[in-house]
């Protein structure tokens, strides 16, 4: 259409999703790394949690980095989810009469899980924040002031661990398609070879992150990580 603005197109929405998604990726990668400190014991973990808040002091006030991160993350989430909803609605409007029979040749499961996977992750984040950050709910009834103890207490509850593991499965799938998709959306994979590399990288990163996150809950449940 003559006079279209590039920023008003579906592809622009996708670029926003890709950028916000990659920011999420950076966050979850760091977060996972931080979580793994649980293996180093109570003090190392709590120190790390504290360090997050004192990072770059005195340039930033106490909790400054965390604050900036939170703002960026919230904005990203709004953008990411907003674009996802917009695209989802477009896709639904683009085919109102479903096929009686439809095969999905050429699609990965991960790619078809993106939307419900995203919703799952969103629900998880809400729960997770209530659990660990905002609400600080300790399902086992213990104290909530000590991050390390909170984590250990929580994951000793089997069903909570299960929720987390399920969420990590979804996150893995989301990243498996999402990372490659973001690279394609940004136009960085114009050859069969670069696409293959991107897909391999996406798979590897997704695996590392979802497994990395899962280690702490699993090892807590298994009793390896203990108070």
């Amino acid at each position: 259409m003559k006079g279209t603005r590039g920023v008003r197109t579906t592809i622009a929405l996708k670029i926003l999703m890709a950028v916000s998604g990659l920011l999420f990726l950076a966050f979850v990668a760091l977060h996972m790394y931080g979580n793994l400190k649980a293996f180093a014991g109570h003090d190392a973990y709590n120190e790390y949690a504290h360090h997050l808040r004192t990072f770059a002091e005195p340039m930033l006030p106490f909790g400054g980095l965390l604050f900036v991160t939170r703002v960026v993350l919230v904005l990203s989430l709004v953008v990411h989810v907003g674009c996802a909803v917009a695209l989802w609605r477009r896709a639904q409007a683009a085919r109102t009469v479903p096929y009686v029979v439809k095969k999905h040749t050429g699609a990965t499961y991960a790619s078809r899980l993106m939307r419900w996977g995203g919703v799952t992750i969103l629900l998880f984040i809400v729960w997770h924040l209530l659990n660990f950050t905002i609400g600080k709910v300790n399902v086992s009834g213990g104290p909530t002031s000590d991050p390390y103890d909170l984590v250990v207490d929580s994951f000793q509850v089997w069903w909570l661990t299960l929720i987390y593991l399920a969420a990590m499965l979804m996150l893995g799938a989301h990243l498996h398609h999402g990372i490659w998709s973001a690279l394609q959306t940004l136009g960085l994979t114009p050859h069969a070879r670069s696409r293959r590399l991107a897909k391999q990288a996406a798979f590897t990163i997704a695996l590392v992150i979802s497994v990395g996150f899962s280690l702490v809950p699993v090892f807590v449940l298994a009793g390896v990580i203990d108070k």
Partner: protein
């Protein structure tokens, strides 16, 4: 071979449609459309209105044909519906035949859809502006072979719409990417490159096609094997266009 066919019947765009079941006797040498011709002759014989479906060249090049066959655009082989042969099926099979499903491709009747949206996408910028008689000598601008080959691969798109039919989002991005890449790879296409991509994507969105989420079913369905390269190219061209203020 004896076959059971479940075919979508719809009298017109405005009316509701439904699946109907037919039996037909086919031979493995027949093309899929010839099998439907045989069914139509029989329906005619019985006084039932034949099934409407599109085809013209029946050689796999005009892009007119296109049926959803057992859930796959153009059926189980990587080719056009007209080039699909009954030897790809077995005696006793049940085959479900539906039209392309896309809001931007309204069903006209039975299995025929209106793909005018593709023409309008081309109108929005899928060309190089050169008036007849205003062209320089063909050898004035050499085109490096690599670019020429990439442009060609993209230019083989026949505009059949299978990519749209396959895409879970109902997106026409593969078609769009093919044209943008074809013209964008050539020196002749540079002048309008950035406005072209923005205008064409805008028209694509305006027609009601979905956005691409890089699922890749389009590529698996494309009879001309247009690669995902073109979508990547499209995306990066759009990004550049935005940067250039379009």
């Amino acid at each position: 071979m004896k076959l059971t066919l479940n075919i979508w019947r719809q009298a017109s765009t405005a009316s509701a449609g439904e699946m109907k079941t037919y039996q037909v006797e086919a031979s493995p040498d027949m093309s899929f459309l010839e099998m439907l011709d045989v069914l139509n002759e029989e329906l005619n014989e019985k006084g039932e209105e034949p099934v409407a479906f599109d085809s013209d060249c029946r050689e796999g090049i005009c892009g007119m044909c296109g049926l959803m066959i057992n859930g796959e655009p153009h059926g189980p082989e990587r080719t056009t519906t007209c080039q699909l042969h009954m030897r790809s099926f077995a005696d006793g099979d049940t085959i479900t035949i539906e039209p392309w499903r896309s809001t931007a491709f309204p069903v006209l009747k039975d299995l025929c859809v209106d793909r005018g949206a593709f023409d309008r996408i081309i109108q929005s910028g899928g060309y190089i502006s050169v008036n007849t008689g205003a062209a320089p000598d063909a050898h004035a601008t050499p085109v490096p072979k690599d670019n020429a080959d990439r442009a060609f691969d993209a230019a083989t798109c026949i505009g059949c719409g299978a990519c749209v039919a396959a895409c879970p989002n109902g997106s026409a991005t593969l078609f769009l990417g093919a044209k943008v890449t074809h013209l964008g790879e050539l020196p002749q296409g540079q002048a309008e490159r950035w406005s072209r991509v923005v205008d064409m994507v805008g028209q694509h969105d305006h027609e009601g096609f979905g956005g691409c989420t890089n699922i890749g079913e389009c590529v698996a369905a494309c009879p001309k094997e247009i690669p995902l390269d073109v979508i990547s190219q499209l995306n990066s061209d759009l990004r550049t266009a935005i940067r250039k203020g379009h």
